[in-house]
Structure formats: structure tokens, C-alpha cells
Symmetry: C2
Subunit: 156 residues, 2 copies
DNA sequence: TCACATTTAATTGTTCGCAATTGAATGTAC
DNA sequence: GTACATTCAATTGCGAACAATTAAATGTGA
């Protein structure tokens, strides 16, 4: 009987941290968050709040549910976050008259105005990425495709 | 004087949510987390706890600081997490006798044993990714390179 | 109409993640 | 060898993230 190699030493060990794409994604997400932090501090936003604002700058007066579907977040996350945005006078929460179950989220004038102040953010991120736009777009598309395959599995 | 196109309609608008690689990474990280959840529930671990166990399965009896450097996490995150792993009898926390500032984290026999039970996890993730190993490795390397460039900017 | 299911947000409780601070141990300069 | 700075983990406080539950509004079927 032969001894097997200790798996720990194999560079291809699927249990090694550095071989896991999930950790690459996880740690990259945190790295992005740290780069965004000082930029968003000036706007008075956290990163998840910035994502909500991006959604609303495209179209506002939408129910909480629409924002959640766009960002893959549920009401347990969004309700308190939106209340903080309301406290910051960036959005207004109004219960829909047509369907009293829905709460519609609309931008305030300050909320709209913040879009202009936020325009410099994406280019700062691009600079920090130290990478061509075409490379970033290609990576983004690959990551989105992977995300969508993962989400498809969850729905089973 | 001409009117400019409303930026909102441009598919290349850098302020559009779907054009941002950071959101791709952010949402992919959450998708991974949701795929991992049922697998790790059986092991009694959360995803960040699983990452700590991966580090310790490679080498244990290491200070908290080493785990933090490996995972890009600080003591504010790790201290309570490690206390929960200790409460689950997976690790033991001991203050170093050579340097009383350090707390060394060692696996218990149950902590070591869990590695075998966790061996099926990476292949389940691979299956959910619905992607060839070589493609995943290529993506992982790109994402790690991006993460490291972002982290380099933070240190400035 | 009336029972029942579905939809929608809000709520509660647990766990991350990080900034900022604290306190103890260690290292360094003079 | 005594000030001073540095290192390390722990702590506090706040904002996500999500599971599970609740409550109200709406939809559906008999």
C-alpha cells in the first residue's frame, strides 16, 4: 500500500484558499468598498446607499420591491437603509394610493442634485482599477454571467 | 447653442448601475454567499467562518493578525467570529507566552475533523458555477489582480 | 360574499465589516 | 533605565445582509 501525498501541499488543492474564486470575488468586493469609502464619505453615502441612488437616478418613484430586484436585496436590508436616506433628505417614502401595500421611493430635489456631485466617482474608480475600460467591461460581463448562473441555481 | 443628449439614455453612461464592475463584483459575492449557505449550514459555519477555517486548515497555531492579513479582515471582525468558533469547539484561543499581546488560534480535534466533512463543498460550488475549471481559474486570476491593484491604491 | 392564498413592507434577531478607541505588552531612543 | 512610540487584540457603535415572522392589502375561487 502506497502513501498518498498530503493534500495540503498540492498547489491544485481545491480546499486551498487561494484556489477559490469565491474568495477572490469576496475580497475584491471588500477592496472596492475600501476604495469607494473616501469618495462616498464626501457625498454622505455608504456603498449600498450609493447603489440605491444609482437605481433611483435611472428611474425613481418606484416601489421598494423594484429596487430590491435590481440590487438582489430584500426589505430587511432596504427598509432601514431607505429610512436613513429619507432622514438625510435624499428620498421620500410614500405609500401608493393604487396599492396600499407598496411604498414608492421618490428622489427629493437634493437627491436629484446629488447625481451631479457623484459624477466624478466612476472615473476615480476607473483610475484606481489601473486597467483599460475594455478589459474592465470584459471582466464585468464575465462576472455578471457567473453571478447569473449562480442565481439560477439558487432558484431551484 | 445645442442641447446635449440626456446622459440617462446613453448605454455607455458610467453612472449606469449595469455598467459598473463594482456592482458586478458586489452582487456576485452575494450570489456566492447564497449558494454556500445551505452547504455550510450542514457544517454549522457561516461563509466568513468557513474562510477562517480554510486558513487554519492550511496552518493553525497562528496569531489573529495572520488570519486577518490573509483574509483582509481586522480584529473588530475576527475577535467575535473566533469567539463563536471557540464556542462551537472548533478552535482554541490561547495567549502566546512569548508575546503576550498575541492570541494564537489552534484547531481542536473537531476543527481538524471538519476539514474532511467540508471536502465536498468546492465541487458543489464548481457545479453551481456551471463553468470549466480553466475558465474559473482564469477569472480568479484576473479578479485577484484587480483586487491587488485596488488594495495598492488604498495603501497610499 | 366569504374563505383562503398571495403580495408587500416592516420587524426581530444574528452575524459580518469597519472606524475609532482602549489597554496591555513590547520595542526603541536617549 | 526611563520616556516614548508601536504593536496587538478587544471593545463600542453603526450600517449592512439575511432568515423568519408579522400584519395589512390585494387577488382568487367556490
Amino acid at each position: 500500500m502506497r502513501f498518498s501525498m498530503p493534500r495540503k501541499l498540492s498547489p491544485l488543492d481545491p480546499q486551498r484558499l487561494d484556489n477559490q474564486i469565491c474568495f477572490a470575488v469576496y475580497s475584491a468586493a471588500h477592496a472596492f468598498n475600501r476604495v469607494y469609502k473616501p469618495l462616498l464619505d464626501r457625498l454622505g453615502l455608504t456603498y449600498p446607499q450609493y447603489l440605491v441612488m444609482l437605481v433611483l437616478w435611472e428611474r425613481d418613484d418606484v416601489p421598494v420591491r423594484d429596487i430590491g430586484e435590481r440590487l438582489f436585496l430584500d426589505s430587511g436590508t432596504l427598509t432601514p437603509l431607505l429610512k436613513r436616506l429619507e432622514a438625510a433628505h435624499l428620498v421620500k417614502r410614500t405609500r401608493s394610493s393604487e396599492d396600499e401595500r407598496q411604498v414608492l421611493i421618490a428622489l427629493t430635489p437634493q437627491g436629484h442634485a446629488l447625481k451631479e456631485k457623484a459624477r466624478a466617482v466612476p472615473q476615480s474608480i476607473l483610475a484606481a482599477s489601473d486597467c483599460s475600460v475594455s478589459e474592465l467591461v470584459a471582466m464585468k460581463d464575465e462576472i455578471v454571467a457567473l453571478r447569473d448562473r449562480l442565481n439560477a441555481v439558487i432558484g431551484e
